[in-house]
Symmetry: C2
Subunit: 295 residues, 2 copies
């Protein structure tokens, strides 16, 4: 676990460095927008998605500065989604990463615009020639991120999540919701390394399988933390799902069975990596971390 | 003017057809999101930006089905911006194109998500191989749209616009605000045809010059309508800028001088098209229309 947490910190530092460079700064009147973008994107967090991009890229010998740009783009999308999801008309969360959420630190309009701007910026980054010399690759990255973040991915999942309040969903419906809401972007983060590295179809398939099971395991662990954690350790309000009457695999299966399910998924995720050598050890460690983390 | 309004209707029909095909439909639980996206994007409007894409593309012999996809992508971005700008925490507008704005027809959360989803969809469309066979071109389109819509373009302009309430801006500051808020996307719409058609640098420069002056003239006409129009003819609430104490070129210069300024800009816009033959007549007509329209 020590190697893994060191690797997670290392990739977080790389992603933050890339974001620092790529996020706009200005002394012009729109500075408030840039400040809000930086607040939303640079305010801490585990940086799991950048870790996944950088780790999968390293499996395929991708240059780190290219992977860092993709990691930054994925993190822009993740952070935009948090700024929007925290809004009063959505999940109404005042706290994010132990600090005021973006609309509490600024205001609602600024939080919406900062999110919008981060989403556009992500595509500006991916389409830039510094991301990869081959425009086919850049287009594939743009298309992959657009689909993961759009109506059939993350945004569609958030819509389902809002509609699920005070409804009991089936296990299948909850699984689908979570694959869209968090799984799609996690999958893209994993696949991005394979796209950048022009991985062979079997390797790409393996990464996709890993991402799928890893994403679901990670989400169950998140739901367990929402029940069992407290705001201090998880850096955001706890007990939100329960209060909103939202179905999760934890509420449907109970904590014990959900924990078992997460363990099975985490083991399956590792199994998908069998065709890789020890270069994949960090992703294997990530699968264990996903279900054992306390924050 | 007859030819021009016929051409505007024709390009609107092409754009709507493309949007009909490209906007997702589903009977799944996220259908509400797709309905809101369709409501925001298919609810009418002049479709000026699609017209600009299609007209500039026709100057350079671009296939219409490729140009139609780009027109649809640009319109997705324009319609997302309207859905977000109409929100209570932004411009707080209940009426859009003579109908309830998206958050009034659905709710605030759905309007935010529909906007987010339209923005992602725009990049999904541009990066798809049906948009252009050459991935260099697709990447250039993605990058151009991202920059036009992002913090240094449309979103930055909206931030400036919100901050300008009850402030008197200089003519220069207002011009910069409007170039960002509406000019950047209009410029991209014009340039997109040149990008698709791999136009020569002088042709591209000419289109860029046209777009710049056309965009400013169009905005002054919009501000005049806001003062002089009524909700019935313009399809949205009138007198909003004045009520919000916003500086516009009309409030700073007076209606008469602003109208003269728009005329000068419109003439300049036409002048930029001198190196094109009669194929550019529709763009020339658009420049006249921009300042003479009554809605």
């Amino acid at each position: 676990m020590g190697d893994f947490t060191a690797a997670l910190s290392h990739s977080a530092a790389i992603a933050v460095q890339a974001l620092e460079t790529l996020l706009p700064k200005s002394r012009d009147a729109e500075n408030r927008l840039f400040e809000a973008m930086r607040y939303a994107a640079l305010g801490g967090g585990k940086r799991l998605r950048p870790f996944l991009v950088l780790s999968s890229a390293s499996l395929f010998g991708v240059q780190e500065d290219c992977a860092a740009r993709v990691a930054a783009a994925v993190e822009c999308v993740h952070c935009y989604s948090l700024a929007h999801d925290d809004l009063p008309c959505m999940d109404d969360d005042d706290l994010r990463r132990g600090k005021p959420s973006t609309h509490r630190q600024f205001d609602e309009a600024t939080a919406i615009l900062a999110g919008d701007a981060l989403l556009s910026l992500a595509f500006e980054i991916l389409s830039g020639s510094d991301t990869h010399e081959d425009p086919h690759i850049r287009c594939e990255l743009v298309r992959g991120l657009a689909m993961a973040s759009g109506p059939q991915g993350m945004v569609g999942g958030q819509m389902l999540d809002l509609e699920s309040e005070n409804q009991t969903l089936s296990v299948g419906a909850v699984t689908r919701l979570q694959q869209m809401k968090t799984g799609a972007l996690i999958s893209f983060a994993c696949e991005a390394g394979a796209i950048l590295g022009k991985a062979s179809p079997p390797h790409r398939q393996a990464i996709r399988g890993f991402a799928h099971d890893f994403g679901l395991a990670f989400q169950i662990a998140d739901d367990l933390l929402d029940i069992e954690g407290n705001a201090e350790t998880i850096g955001k309000s706890a007990g939100k799902d329960q209060a909103a009457g939202k179905s999760t695999l934890v509420s449907l299966l109970g904590s014990e069975r959900a924990r078992m399910q997460a363990k099975i998924l985490s083991d399956q995720a590792v199994k998908h990596l069998d065709l890789f050598d020890e270069k994949a050890d960090l992703l294997r460690a990530a699968a264990h971390y996903a279900i054992e983390r306390r924050a």
